[in-house]
Amino acid sequence: MSFLLRRLGFYLLAFWASITLNFLLPRLMPGDPVTRMLSRSQQRLEPQQVEALRTLMGVDGGPIIPEYFAYLGRILTGDFGMSISRFPTPVSEVIASQLPWTLLLGLTSLIIAVILGNLLGILAAWRRGGFLDSVAPPLLVFIGSFPYFWLAMGALYIFGINMGVAPMRHAFSVGLVPGFNLVFILDVAAHLILPALTIVLVSLGGWMLGMRNTMIATNSEDYILMAEAKGLRPHRIMLNYAARNAMLPSVTSMGMSIGFIVGGALLTEVVFAYPGVGYQLLGAVQGLDYPLMQGMFLTITAAVLIANFLVDLVYVRLDPRVRKG
């Protein structure tokens, strides 16, 4: 329990640090983001909205300490200000409409990559020097060297433009009403396959190699020898004895890689025009929409922190040593 409480405290601290960074950035950097933004928004803003933006970005030069606490209060109540590129929608609303798609894409590809990568790693380590062990690692490392978004461009070019078998953009077909029915779910899945596949391909190698290397170390432990001496069936030794103990580093790196997957998902979304946070991020960058960028940063950070906490819960379940210590 104390382990989980400690982790929770750490996540809160990390979140506080990101809010503070968000607060300080526009105040420390040279230049005036509000003026830059206003030139893009074509004077659609009311004077009091401009004033609110100035306070948010700290260009009015007010006292910094009270402003900081006011900022903390606003963020904690979910008020990220107004979006400029999608004026007059509040930032929190823009993000809320996009976040589910990013979560869907990110989680689907993460889960597939983790399961597939770890299984491949277990098999490769179990048959050292076999076909899988000698062919798959270099191939996957090579694929993993490509930038996520570039592989996405290639996949879109081959399957979308040349062969015409995959949908080109968006998360579901135009004209389809979102709802919980088979037609809609199948359509969403069809749009999900290609973006998810590119992320899985790029991240698979890391999982496989990590698992393979820990598994090799575990295979030489005495309890594996003991299990073999007892005459247990090989696949039982592989999964219940070796793999189970080799899994802990994988679970730890799962927490770490969530942030990485989110980053990859953001770029992949841009290529596929997938309506998630990443696609919106491009719009925010192009429209110099600072409040939206900041809001996204905080939302994604919060999501990653929560995901890490969930991983910790799994970790406690898997490793009894943490529960006692």
Binding site: F10, S145, M296
Partner: protein
């Protein structure tokens, strides 16, 4: 070779305790280099990197003048005149790719090296001094590790004035934490070794112990971390520029891809515009990963392919027979 013989002797005259560490470090460094050159993966990786660096350096000779100037009609397919075709605007793709290597490799290597240096400083001092300093440094490291990299990159780059310097600074801010963590855990295990205790007792200054006793003995870890940092930086730079957050006026692989998408060449099926830059990024990253792999294999004997069945692998051999 003569240096190897004379140097330790002068060191003996000065400080007897230093001889072993410095000598050990030199021997391990030359041995590492020699084994690297005997390793196929390392040779392949290093050759690819050398080819790219040479091409990048020769870019002004091979393609003199401004590579972004318009030399032909837009979007022509690869031909004898333009080996890789031209962009939608009519710029030579091969020229853009070669010139792009300059800024991409420079930023990647610079950001990777700086991230590793910061990581070494933070990790070493945390592990050496321990207690309060270690607590604080570990906490900061873990926070930076947890905060998602790309969104952080984006807001940092959006608020800072555009330019190569900004890209490097931003990449270091988001990239140092991973190496700091590895360095700390490695330095912690060396900190407990007897020769560090001996150096402490003989009254050496902390900085000297860190640089002369601890650092040389984690050379291979520093090496893999550096390679990892460079790979990460090249990828992150490409992503940042692809979003249009770099300096869109400099030519790099990332901005080439940015222009390829914003000119719509993907949708028009002009594959020759976006393939070269992406392939270049992948090849460099792959070459670095190969070197990384090689260093790993050399320093971790367990990962090497077993030549003879030893005691620990004997059990596995029995299982294999059963399966057949």
């Amino acid at each position: 070779m003569s240096q190897n013989v004379t140097d330790p002797q002068t060191l003996i005259a000065e400080e007897p305790t230093d001889e072993s560490a410095a000598n050990r470090a030199r021997v391990s460094a030359t041995r590492l280099l020699r084994t690297l050159l005997r390793n196929g993966k390392a040779v392949a990786g290093l050759s690819i990197i050398v080819v790219f660096i040479v091409l990048a350096l020769l870019a002004p000779v091979l393609f003199p003048g401004d590579p972004a100037r318009i030399t032909s009609a837009g979007a022509s397919t690869p031909s004898l005149q333009h080996w890789l075709g031209t962009t939608t605007k009519g710029q030579d793709v091969l020229g853009l790719t070669l010139w792009g290597a300059r800024s991409s490799l420079f930023v990647g290597f610079a950001a990777g090296i700086f991230s590793t240096v910061v990581g070494v400083l933070v990790g070493l001092s945390g592990a050496y001094f321990g207690r309060g300093l270690d607590e604080v440094l570990s906490l900061v490291t873990n926070v930076f590790l947890l905060v998602p990299g790309l969104p952080l990159l984006v807001i940092l780059a959006a608020f800072m004035p555009p330019g190569l310097g900004t890209v490097i600074v931003v990449l270091v801010i988001t990239g140092w934490a991973g190496s700091a963590r590895v360095m700390r855990s490695q330095a912690m295990s060396i900190r407990g070794k007897d020769y560090v205790a001996a150096a402490l007792v003989s009254g050496e200054r902390p900085l000297r112990i860190m640089v002369r006793e601890i650092l040389p003995n984690m050379a291979s870890v520093v090496m893999t971390t550096l390679l990892g940092c460079i790979i990460g930086s090249i990828g992150a730079q490409a992503g940042l520029e692809f979003l249009g957050l770099g300096d869109v006026n400099t030519i790099s692989w990332g901005t080439n891809l940015f222009w390829a998408t914003s000119d719509g060449s993907l949708m028009l099926g002009q594959w020759w515009i976006f393939v070269p830059s992406g392939l270049a990024i992948a090849l460099v990253a792959f070459a670095l990963a190969l070197c990384n792999y090689a260093v790993d294999e050399i320093t971790n004997p367990r990962l090497r392919r077993p030549k003879h069945a030893t005691k620990s692998t004997a059990a596995t051999t029995v299982v294999r027979k059963e399966e057949k």
